[in-house]
Symmetry: C2
Subunit: 101 residues, 2 copies
């Protein structure tokens, strides 16, 4: 399982609009066959620091996500709302086992 | 929903032992009534950087976790395996809704 944490620093005035677009993208992503989770998390100490917890069955699923209409809409809509370029960290899942996701 | 990401830098020689103890703690934690997820993630670029994705229904559930036997065992077993003190970041969940966890 491939897990990606995407860190976004949002311009404070755009935070509500960003969260609305991001909820929509997350809901669409969960309909993809290769997506197991797409959580949207807001840092307690800095609500403008949002983290996406994306879980894909494999790299092909992550690539397929980038070809969806909901991803393209999100990418274009939120680009001007970011205070700096977003950063992603990739992980391998150790627990749960593959069947537990 | 309260989400906590715990970042651990593990001493490379202790990595397998750390992952064994951490899998055991994660499995025990999932038996707690207030724990929704307890994922163990290994950074692709640095496998000795391990992140726990802990999801609690509320602060009381997070507090209760710290009083369990599996947590106490894990804390004591892995303390000497850490290359530096672990660091935690707390999040509020934006998506999914409460019922989606």
């Amino acid at each position: 399982m491939l897990v990606v944490h995407v860190h976004v620093r949002v311009k404070p005035d755009d935070l509500e609009a960003f969260l609305t677009e991001t909820r929509r993208n997350a809901a669409g992503s969960l309909e993809e066959p290769g997506v197991r989770r797409f959580d949207v998390l807001q840092t307690e100490a800095d609500p403008a620091h949002v983290v996406l917890n994306e879980v894909y069955v494999d790299q092909a699923a992550a690539d397929a996500h980038k070809r969806t209409a909901h991803y393209a809409r999100w990418r274009d809509a939120v680009a001007p709302m970011m205070a700096e370029p977003r950063a992603a960290t990739r992980f391998e899942s150790v627990f749960p086992a593959e069947s537990g996701w």
